[in-house]
Symmetry: C2
Subunit: 97 residues, 2 copies
């Protein structure tokens, strides 16, 4: 896989404006968003759609689920922090809900 | 739903002997097990099987996934700790892998 470049602080600020529901985490090395659904079936349906998308893009989330809640953290291990891959993935995830 | 009884310390000790791959967590209020798979697709396939089982039994895990790793925590909120429902669920999960 080609090396992935970490976002500069300026790029991060610009891109995050387009992702108002995501917050910076891990000292700027990741972004996270919490989701709440009607019940477990809804939450896991959402996770399944994200999983298929993640596999297709070869970019996988770190995530936690309990019942109707899902917490997603995105970071790019290859870049040692946030990259455009996370931003693009976050946009795709936002489009699902 | 009928009230679910928390396991006594003695029951807990007995039942956990049957679940050698699970450890007590949260001061004995939960059990947890970590799983590792070949890749994300394998990990998420496993999660899907657990999800369907959980929904059917109306007993849902707390779980975390990143790439090929899955960490499952079982506890019974209605009982305020571990119950037989967790033990039975853990056995069913063990049978999947």
């Amino acid at each position: 896989m080609a090396a992935v470049e970490q976002l500069t602080e300026e790029e991060r600020t610009t891109w995050l404006r387009a992702l108002p529901k995501w917050s910076l985490a891990r000292d700027g090395a990741a972004i996270e968003r919490k989701f709440e659904f009607a019940d477990f079936a809804e939450a896991f349906s959402f996770m399944t759609r994200v999983a298929i998308m993640a596999e297709k893009r070869d970019h996988h989330p770190e995530w936690f689920n309990v019942y109707n809640r899902v917490e997603i953290t995105l970071t790019t291990h290859d870049a040692g922090g946030l990259s455009l891959r996370d931003v693009n993935m976050a946009k795709k995830i936002d489009a699902l809900v």
